[in-house]
């Protein structure tokens, strides 16, 4: 435990070094190198801890409020998330080092050439602080330390978002983010307040020992779903996420999207499974419902986006939905006293947490590579990058395939486990839950299929076809550090897809801690290459067989094509639909919007009120025809705007308080004092 605390302290030292020496050329090497080293240390410690077992590491630091102190503790659950956070930290440091240097060079050669390139805000000192904040959340073992770390993490990431403040979109995103982050923290504060009222002790151990009454527990569940959900991006609290995540530099976007949302998931698990004691069945029902809504809405949003990073951020919303569905299922099965199935669902959740952190980091890195190479995040200005950036293209393909849940990659394993848990719904006695789980399963299937469509669109438009802009045509492959930063998560995606069982074995202590069972309980023989959970109704998954079969089929297919197909190459100029220009094929190929049109028509016209407007010139008119698409975000119309109006109205009313006379203020204070004293006097007897 001392090791983890020293590593976090080291992150603070690195941050100070970055702040002091930010002008020096070696500063970024020191900061990113130091951060990666600290993260590697913590991740290694957590992995050894999980594999080796042993008692929880705990530490009480004499800092913070004098009568509370800072309780730190790393149990199995913390260790799992420590691995996730620090693995993301290592790859992001690697990528960020190359990214910063590439942008520094491009910035010094062409003064402020293309949009989004200039990074004048201080990233270096804040980046280690952000990682330190997330690590502190994971090892906090009292409510005060937890909230302090949580807010520290929020503020550090907020400042990182602001580091691109030259971009006109950023201030709006940052303002919305700080509002939502404060709202989330306020909810968490109230939740812990309710949890600790019974006995006034804020340490997690004391909260765990005194389970709250039913009414208070219900309040806590609602507050946690609001508080942690707003950070994780649960619909309809997700509005800040697709604005704030893309605004930061790409490696920070990867951390925010791939890792910080997982810290929010950690908060949900910690409270719902650990601190609140025995769950009631409806907690899981509500959680699952929000998860399903989030999954479907998130991917539908993603399908409408043309901005690569915003698309990825919306896809994060979808994946959080899937994770929250798994959490809800685990709660339901835990409440129904079928711990083995609960362990299966929770294993699916944790596996998806790891998976999503890997492939979402990878995809954000790929977006950063595209941004570095072309200076644009707009899909409609990319295209044909597979020829210019072959390594990035291959790595991004792995990420896209993994997030689309294609076997034998890790995304598939996570979804497979989750569906095994869903298929166990008949084991429940509550009929409303049986029906809800069926609906949720359908929604999840829909979301997964749509996610595949979404990433076919992303990959196809960005990497295939012909370049849609001069910048895309002249793109250069990114540097070695950035490619390595992408390669590490890509390799892990493949490895975890083929051999998921050791990782799930690693989760077992955490699962035993939370639901008092493991996914393989009661199964005598469990080889390390075979994934066959006890409650999977006889189903099993073997990544190795899958890999071999896919490889064989691919070879057969390639051979077949080469044998049967004509090998005569015919070169000709394609018909350009009457367009004239240097590359008519680039103009007439599918655009991002036209690729998304079928799904936009099918779903968007009702959910988003998406409308296509065609402006057709009269015959003989030489102006071009225009097709424009408009859509409205229901979360804004239904939730955010009414709330904003209500807050404005209240502020208007409260504004009067500012213009009162001194004597009135004194009177108000006096009356408040008297009222409080009366309350005390009344409650005394």
């Amino acid at each position: 435990m001392g090791l983890v605390v020293s590593a976090i302290a080291f992150l603070f030292a690195v941050a100070i070094a970055g702040a002091v020496a930010k002008r020096l050329p070696q500063a970024s090497t020191v900061v990113y190198g130091g951060t990666a080293a600290a993260c590697a240390l913590i991740a290694l410690w957590a992995a050894l801890r999980l594999a080796g077992g042993g008692p929880d590491a705990a530490l009480v630091l004499p800092v913070g409020l004098p009568w509370i102190q800072a309780h730190l503790r790393a149990d199995a659950l913390s260790a799992v998330f420590l691995i996730v956070v620090n693995l993301g930290g290592i790859t992001a440091s690697l990528f960020g080092w190359g990214y910063e240097r590439a942008h520094h060079e491009s910035h010094s050669t062409s003064q402020g050439g293309s949009q989004g390139h200039s990074q004048d805000g201080p990233v270096l000192p804040l980046y280690p602080l952000f990682l330190a904040g997330m690590n502190m959340v994971l090892i906090a073992a009292d409510a005060f330390t937890f909230l302090l770390s949580w807010e520290f993490m929020s503020l550090a990431s907020w400042l990182l978002v602001l580091s691109t403040h030259r971009d006109p979109e950023t201030p709006k995103a940052a303002r919305l983010y700080i509002i939502m982050a404060s709202f989330g923290t306020a909810c968490l504060l109230l939740a812990f307040g309710v949890l600790a009222t019974a006995h006034g002790d804020y340490s997690f151990a004391a909260i765990r020992a005194h389970a709250p009454a039913a009414g208070a527990a219900a309040l806590v569940v609602a507050l946690i779903l609001l508080g942690a959900g707003s950070k994780a991006g649960l619909v309809p609290l997700h509005v800040w996420l697709p604005l704030a995540h893309p605004a930061a530099p790409s490696h920070v976007s990867a951390l925010m999207s791939g890792v910080m949302t997982k810290v929010a998931v950690y908060a949900m698990i910690r409270v719902l499974f650990d601190l609140l004691g025995e769950p009631e069945w409806w907690w899981g029902g509500v959680t699952m419902g929000f998860g399903a809504l989030t999954a479907v809405m998130g991917v539908l949003y993603a399908l409408m986006q043309d901005d690569v990073k915003r698309l990825l951020a919306y896809s994060t919303v979808e994946n959080i939905g899937a994770i929250v569905i798994a959490l809800g299922l685990a709660l339901v099965f835990k409440a129904a006293h079928t711990p083995v199935i609960a362990a299966l669902a929770l294993a699916a959740a944790l596996l998806h947490v790891v998976n999503h952190s890997l492939f979402k980091s990878l995809l954000f890195f790929a977006a950063g590579a595209m941004l570095t190479a072309t200076g644009s995040r707009d899909l409609n200005r990319l295209g044909g990058l597979i020829h210019r950036m072959p390594t990035t293209a291959v790595l991004a393909l792995i990420g896209a395939a993994a997030i689309s849940a294609l076997p034998p990659l890790n995304g598939f394993v996570g979804e497979w486990l989750l569906f095994q848990a869903i298929l166990n719904a008949p084991a429940l006695s509550e009929w409303s839950l049986k029906i809800e789980i069926a609906v949720v399963g359908a929604a999840l299937a829909l979301a997964t299929a749509l996610a595949a469509a979404c990433f076919v669109r992303l990959y196809g438009i960005a990497f295939l076809g012909r370049p849609r802009s001069r910048a895309a045509a002249e793109a250069l492959e990114v540097g070695r550090a950035m490619r390595l930063g992408m390669a590490v998560p890509a390799v892990l995606c493949v490895v975890l897809g083929v051999l998921p069982t050791p990782l799930i074995r690693l989760f077992e202590p955490a699962l035993r801690l939370l639901v008092e069972a493991g996914p393989f309980d009661g199964r005598a023989y469990q080889p390390w290459f075979w994934l066959a959970p006890t409650s999977a109704i006889g189903n099993s998954y073997n990544g190795l067989i899958m890999l071999v079969v896919i490889a064989l089929l691919s070879v057969v297919l390639v051979l077949g094509i080469h044998r049967k197909a004509s090998d005569r190459v015919r070169w000709s100029i394609p018909w350009g639909c009457g367009f004239d220009g240097p590359d008519p094929a680039a103009v007439t190929q599918y655009t991002a919007s036209s690729f998304g049109q079928p799904i936009r028509r099918a779903f968007g016209s009702t959910v988003f009120r998406a409308r296509d407007h065609v402006d057709m010139p009269a015959p003989g008119d030489t102006r071009p025809a225009r097709l424009s698409v408009t859509w409205t975000d229901p979360a804004w119309v239904v939730v955010v705007e009414p709330l904003a109006r209500a807050v404005g109205w209240l502020a208007e009313k409260a504004n009067r308080l500012q213009f009162m006379t001194i004597r009135r203020y004194l009177t108000l204070m006096f009356l408040a004092l008297v009222v409080l004293l009366v309350m005390v006097a009344v409650t005394q007897r």
């Binding site: 500012q658 213009f659 006379t661 001194i662 004597r663 004194l666 009177t667 006096f670 004092l673 008297v674 004293l677 009366v678 005390v680 006097a681 005394q684 007897r685």
Partner: protein
């Protein structure tokens, strides 16, 4: 503790409270100052009596401080301010006696109801003293909000301080440092008030808060 000691302490505390009531309805500034002086004298007597009956010599210092500051320096200084500013003839519209008394009595009731159950395990004298001093504080607050003249608001503030000293004197074992710091904070507050009064007067030609409030740009 002898019965006499208890009774005398109780009576002196009650006199302080009584003076607080008297402060509430004084309409002339000079009589207000006189009553305030009497309250300070009663407080001095309380402190001295406690020092004598408990055998705690440091309370004599408190008594001396109260006597010099509250009973002599501040009243004399306020007196001079009033004369200098030529407002000694001002008749101040305070609340009606009946209404003030009703409010004051209910505040005293509240503080007794509040303090007695909370301090169930303390000695009788401490409990009563705390109840009395809380009443004095609340009455001082009431005076501050019911008066419009800045000088009488200053007097209200000083009587709040008196209440605090009363509590400090009554609670056995209150360290001297606390009393000293309270005394000096009263000093500082008084100096600041004095400066403010002159400045307000210079600027606005009045010490009536209601008139001054109309000078604020933003009020409607």
């Amino acid at each position: 503790m002898s019965d006499l000691g208890y009774d005398a302490a109780h009576m002196l505390g009650a006199v302080v409270l009584l003076m607080s009531f008297a402060l509430l309805y004084q309409r002339r500034l000079f009589s207000l100052l006189n009553v305030f002086t009497m309250q300070a004298l009663a407080l001095t007597a309380t402190a001295a009596w406690q020092a004598y009956s408990h055998g705690e010599p440091h309370l004599y210092i408190t008594a001396l401080l109260t006597l010099v500051l509250k009973a002599i320096l501040i009243p004399v200084a306020l007196h001079r301010i009033i004369v200098k500013m030529k407002i000694h003839r001002t008749i101040e519209p305070a609340l009606g006696i009946g209404l003030t008394m009703v409010a004051g009595v209910s505040l005293v009731t509240l503080s007794i109801l509040l303090v007695l159950p909370v301090t169930a395990d303390a000695t009788a004298l401490t409990r009563e003293n705390l109840a009395l001093s809380l009443s004095v504080v609340l009455l001082g607050l009431l005076m501050m909000i019911s008066r419009r003249n800045a000088v009488s608001q200053v007097v209200g503030f000083m009587s709040i301080e008196n209440g605090l000293i009363l509590a400090a004197v009554g609670a056995a074992g209150m360290p001297l440092v606390v009393e000293m710091s309270v005394a000096f904070s009263v000093m500082v507050a008084f100096i600041i008030f004095g400066i403010f009064l002159f400045h307000i007067r210079e600027r606005f030609d009045t010490l009536d808060m209601q008139k001054i409030e109309s000078f604020r740009g933003e009020s409607d």
